[in-house]
């Protein structure tokens, strides 16, 4: 597994040293079933993700819901233990991150440093504030935990924090429900700022807010970053917000990073068809209103059974024969055809790419064979079919074996995981 933006390059040093590094991170959730709660599968919410965050920069994380953004940010925040892989945090022991900086292996005092310096702001501004606590308790709590202040000193520090986020002394003794959504998000930000952290993870901080309030919060975040040299991991599904906020961005699809690079580069020359589709699907006030929607077919596959090869191949408009065609693609195709699906009796797999499909009658097998040779399946799928033979009511299909897709370099700091070298327009 390659590690795209590792710390060795001179580019990294120039842009500020690495604050946090995620290396080959996996987080799998077991799927349990039945009364005995037997594990029947794994949801690979985060699957082999690597990236770096440097001091003072904003890394945007985008992708459709369920692609693992929240799970990844919770791992980075140390809220969930990853299944495997490591998260390294620079606690000021020299700029080269090594095994000794793994957050799960840090000694107590350095773990405290990590804990103080990585804070989080959540999407749901109401749920992230304890409804029984007053604002002064909520914002003052981190200061109390680290015994930084108490008594009237604490109150003054809280007032200073409130003022930084555009609130004031008059808000000290209020309950969260007495505020509007935007104000609650400001309180969350003030709490995150209290310990003067180096990194704030923002999990869709403005998704629940209206545009005019979103603009206020984004401006606030921008100003705070400038003042305090903050680094942000900015999770969102809104590409407009990412473009505005992020220096570098990461696109995720089904638990994997499919593209990462400097935001403007990615926006102008997306190297992955998924990023390209995301960009096209989002209507923008700046583009031509008569431009037709660029549509992306199909739905996100079940994360418990992600497609082989490139996970995007079931929906990719630019799909090639070497993108990982498999027997499941035939099953997906059959699911859309009621009569054929009804007569399908079973699938005997030799491997994920070679299987017998058993039908009730020979006619169905022939019908599928015909369909798979016609334009009702993608051309790339036809090209990838090595064998398609009918024996009685059995249809044997074999697809060619292909390599996994890896993140490869597309430009300075720009990586994408796609078989295509460049996307022609």
């Amino acid at each position: 597994m390659m590690q795209p933006p590792k710390t060795d390059s001179t580019v990294a040093m120039k842009a500020g040293d690495t604050l946090l590094s995620v290396r080959n991170l996996n987080k799998h959730f077991p799927i349990k079933d039945g009364i005995l709660q037997k594990v029947v599968g794994q949801v690979r919410a985060v699957d082999g993700v690597s990236f770096d965050i440097r001091r003072g920069e904003t890394v945007g994380l985008v992708g459709e819901s369920g692609c693992g953004k929240t799970t990844l940010s919770q791992c980075v925040a140390g809220l969930t233990d990853p299944t495997s892989g490591e998260i390294l945090f620079n606690t000021g022991q020299g700029s080269q991150l090594g095994d000794g900086d793994r957050i799960d292996k840090l000694p107590k005092d350095r773990y405290r440093t990590f804990r103080r310096n990585v804070q989080m702001v959540f999407q749901d501004n109401f749920a992230s504030l304890n409804p029984r606590q007053l604002v002064v308790d909520i914002i003052g709590r981190p200061l109390k935990v680290y015994r930084e202040a108490s008594g009237s000193d604490l109150t003054e520090r809280v007032v200073a924090l409130l003022e930084q986020v555009g609130l004031g002394r008059q808000h000290l003794y209020r309950y969260p429900h007495q505020f509007s959504g935007g104000q609650r998000q400001r309180i969350s930000i003030a709490r995150a700022l209290a310990l003067d952290p180096e990194l704030i993870i923002l999990d869709e901080p403005t998704s629940a807010l209206d545009v005019s309030v979103q603009a206020q919060i984004l401006n606030l975040l921008g100003d705070l970053q400038k003042e305090r040299q903050l680094a942000y991991l900015f999770v969102t599904h809104d590409l407009g917000v990412v473009r505005h906020m992020a220096d570098r961005m990461i696109t995720m699809y089904l638990g994997k990073v499919v593209e990462q690079g400097p935001t403007e580069t990615v926006f102008q020359q997306p190297a992955h068809p998924y990023t390209e589709a995301l960009l096209a699907a989002k209507p923008d006030l700046a583009d031509d209103p008569d431009k037709p929607f660029a549509l992306l077919e199909g739905t996100i596959p079940d994360p418990a059974r992600p497609p082989l090869g490139c996970r995007f191949h079931t929906r990719c408009p630019r799909v090639t024969p070497s993108c990982g065609w498999e027997i499941d693609d035939i099953v997906r195709f059959l699911e859309a055809d009621e009569s054929l699906f009804q007569s399908l009796q079973g699938v005997e797999r030799r491997s994920a790419r070679d299987a017998d499909l058993i039908f009730k009658d020979p006619a169905s097998a022939v019908a599928l064979q015909e369909a798979m040779k016609s334009s009702s399946v993608p051309e790339a799928m036809r090209a990838a079919t090595e064998r398609l033979t009918v024996e009685g009511s059995r249809l044997r299909a074999t697809f060619s074996e292909v390599d996994e897709v890896q993140l490869t370099e597309r430009g300075p700091e720009h990586f994408a995981a796609c078989k295509l070298d460049h996307l022609s327009r």
Binding site: E64, S65, S180, G181, G182, Q183, D210, V211, S212, V213, Q214, A215, Q216, L218, N219, L220, L221, G222, D223, Q225, K226, H237, L239, G240, V241, R243, H244, M245, F267, A277, L278, A281, K282, P283, D284, L285, A286, P289, P292, F293, A294, L295, L296, T299, I300, E335, A336, D337, E338, F341
Partner: protein
């Protein structure tokens, strides 16, 4: 607001006039909708945009009489609707007059309509698509059964015809089947259904019903309608459920669809497809759509005209190109400027200061006054009303329409 119903423009199919919906609360009366007015023309897509809580949903629900009373109080106004092919206008007997907008059709005030008339209109003439399809669908029934309801309720005569039972067939079996199709079946009918000859006919009705449901689903590009019909809502993805909702809404070929944030809960890629679908179907059926959304860029993309709401009132209304390229109301301007776009420096988005005012017992004056950068003394004392600033483009702001002399006097009296 004067109605401009003449001309070559399509007729006005629905109109909201000075609608006021208030909510009783412990702290006082919440003026959630306070004098909203706009028109919807036949076959157009009108966008209704504004921030959360500005009264969009309440306005939309008024078309279907779905506002819970209490806590709501309908404090005034009317919601007019002219069904296509409805009864003749009583004032001119169908020849066209001012009251019916030259359509010759009858005009209904949906707020005063008796419950049974409303039920006939709901689903058949006016349909609604909700934000959360998960909540709008019944979790205990299959999609097929829920879709069938719509046809049984509004299209039972056609179903009978499909099954070969003509309207003037009055024998025992035909009557029983009619009752089954109208969902008024008695105990005996349900028993009789099991035996010939009713069994065959009931089967034919069921077939006709299934065919219609499948066709309706297929129209929303659901790949495998028969499978979806057997599925329960929770077995479908969000995008799929929204398609089912759209199929249900379009089932009876309504004249007007109220779409309340139909894609807000969906991902961008699915959102694009659903919007495309709504747009194509709307163009194919020439249905008028009231498209409620808080997403400006979406409204710009799919709508013909747009009404911008702020704090229970319409601030600006006009064609999409007018409003988006030449916004005249300071709120619309602020809203458009607040959308993050390429090139804006981080931390320098133009944001509207402050937040939405509370609507508890509001005093007269422009609702936007405390956030408006161009506020004038008159703004805090008088209500601006919508006035034309161009062909089909109206704005409620004193910058465009300074308070007239009479009002100025009142203002003076107030300040003294």
């Amino acid at each position: 607001m004067t109605s401009n119903l003449e001309g070559t423009e399509p007729p006005v199919i629905a109109e909201v006039r000075d609608l006021r919906v208030h909510f009783g609360s412990k702290r006082g009366r919440v003026h959630a909708v306070d004098g909203v007015g706009f028109q919807i023309r036949d076959g157009e897509m009108l966008g209704l945009v504004g921030e959360t809580g500005c009264g969009k949903s309440v306005t939309g629900r008024a078309f279907l009489n779905l506002i819970p009373q209490p806590p709501a109080i309908i404090a005034g106004g009317e919601v007019l609707f002219r069904p296509r092919g409805g009864a003749a206008c009583p004032a001119c007997a169908g020849s066209g007059c001012h009251a019916c907008g030259q359509t010759g059709g009858e005009t209904l005030d949906l707020l005063k309509l008796p419950q049974d008339r409303m039920r006939q209109i709901r689903g058949a003439r006016i349909a609604m698509i909700f934000q959360d399809p998960g909540k709008a669908l019944n979790p205990t029934l299959t999609i097929g059964v829920q879709m069938a309801e719509v046809f049984l309720q509004h299209k039972s005569d056609e179903l009978l015809q499909d099954a070969g039972i003509s309207a003037d067939d009055r024998n025992l079996a035909a009557n029983a089947l009619r009752r089954i199709a109208h969902q008024e079946d008695r105990w005996l009918d349900r028993r009789l259904k099991r035996f010939p000859p009713l069994r065959q006919a009931a089967g034919r009705i069921q077939q006709a019903l299934d065919a219609r449901v499948a066709a309706a689903l297929a129209e929303t590009q659901i790949a495998n309608p028969l499978r979806v019909m057997r599925a329960y809502p929770h077995e479908l993805s969000g995008g799929m459920r929204q398609r089912v909702m759209i199929a249900q809404a379009l089932a009876c070929d309504p004249d007007l669809i109220i779409a309340d944030e139909p894609t807000t809960a969906l991902d961008v890629t699915i959102q694009a497809r659903i919007l495309e679908l709504i747009k194509t179907l709307q163009e194919r059926h020439r249905t008028a759509v009231l498209y409620i959304s808080h997403d400006l860029s979406l409204v710009r993309k799919v709508c013909d005209r747009v009404a911008v709401m702020y704090a229970g009132r319409v601030a600006e209304v006009g064609t999409v190109s007018d409003v988006f390229s030449n916004p005249r109301h300071p709120y619309t301007q602020g809203l458009l400027a607040a959308v993050p776009r390429a090139g804006a420096r981080r931390g320098h988005l133009a944001s509207i200061p402050g937040s939405v005012p509370e609507l508890v017992n509001p005093t007269p004056g422009c609702r936007f006054a405390d956030r408006c950068s161009q506020v004038m003394p008159a703004c805090t004392q008088l209500d601006p009303v919508l006035g034309s600033v161009g062909e089909g483009h109206s704005v409620a702001c004193f910058l465009e329409h300074p308070p007239h002399a009479g009002a100025a006097k009142i203002e003076k009296a107030l300040t003294e």
